[in-house]
Amino acid sequence: MIKVYSPSSDRAPAISARAWIVIYILALVIVLAQLTLGRLISIWGVAPSFILAFMICLTFQLGARSVLPVAFVTGFCADLFTYNLLGSSAFALCLVVWLVGLSRNIIYRKNLWLYLAIIASSTLINALVIRLIYWIYLGEEIFSQNMLWKLPLESLLNFLALMLLLPLTKRILKGRLNYGE
């Protein structure tokens, strides 16, 4: 499992400018992959959210405080390239990142079920927040019958995406983080 810094210190690792550039470029690539490949690999109309999985990966490693701006930019780009309400994905992503950041203490336990629980709750929160925004601004209904089977399937797919992206981000950020120890 991934090594994270001690949360008790509340100190985020120092990230070099080069690492930030890499992270932002990677985020943009993930957005493009989501918008193009997402539709191709969907199962029964449900596609894994690479963006969400990537943000959770980053939060595990860098902490919510550092990842919040990345989440905002990534969500903003995702909204910009589609016809979503501009800022809706960014809002949901930032909220998820912050909540995942709070739950980082339990990530020390190397338990796969914990990862699954975190990704499932993140998927649920992300979907509900976006639907809530659409309900407020467009009058769309929040709940639908499809949600009952789509959300568990999406959570499972997101979990697979997370397992795929975790080693990738770990490899990319390896040697670029300085924990000041």
Binding site: A90, C94, S144
Partner: protein
Amino acid sequence: MRFPPPGFVRLVIILSLCVLLITLDGLGFFKARYVLNYLFTPLERLASALHNIQDAQKQLAELSAESSSKDKSSMEPELNQENALLRQLLGVPFSLPFTILPATVIDSSTQLGKHYIVIDQGSLSGASPGQTVVSGKYFIGQIDEVGMAESKVKLLGANSLCVAVYLPRSGFPGILRARPDGVLEVYYLPPRAKIKVGDLVYTSGLGGSFPRGLLIGEVSRVENIAGELFLDCEITPSPSLYSPTVVGVLLPASPPLPPVPYIVDQTSENSSPKVSSPESPSTPEPGDAENTSAPPKAINGFGE
């Protein structure tokens, strides 16, 4: 655990920014996003092409399986039904002073909102906000936002879309709007309107937002609640509303020819300048090819 948790202030700032963006977008700002959307179009088209190939292969397999299992006799009831529907539609006083722009649905994800789709025609093809979108003879929605090569269409189930309708059998007009649960309802029908289940509902053209005579659906439930001023009337829309694949955008027909400007002929030096116009042609002179030519024809068959 201390309060506020780390990153809380930053979160509040970012979420406030998001709310501001959402509000501004809801108010119709950020037109520049359509240019960015256009730049992204080739990549999206490539991805949707791959997706379409998969779909087409699946559809081909299904159709070939279906055609092998069905014989001609089993098709007869369906054909008869379709024939009856077409005859019924032919009886509707319907004229289209429009040209239809065919468009393919390229996105119908719930992320857009349940009652929105994206089609592959934009301002470059002549689409503009407010134009009517049909599926066959069925009215299904209205263009909401237009990019350069894509448009977002608001479908009938969207709460914010109101359509002036009439029911030809009873002759009463009403306003069609979706309830928050997505069910279509015709409002303002008085109890004396003898509405029956199965009555067809058409756009009335009142208000000028949509053309008259487009079929919307049929009455699925009607109830006269005691003490209520108006009937409770639910509508079942076209089946294609729920999974449109190819739609048509009604573009206004080409406008009539603009009036030809008066041309001052300054070729003759001695005489005063001649003024010619199609309405008052000057006396034709031998060899004057311009004056003997046929008058301009109306374009597109309109304006005759």
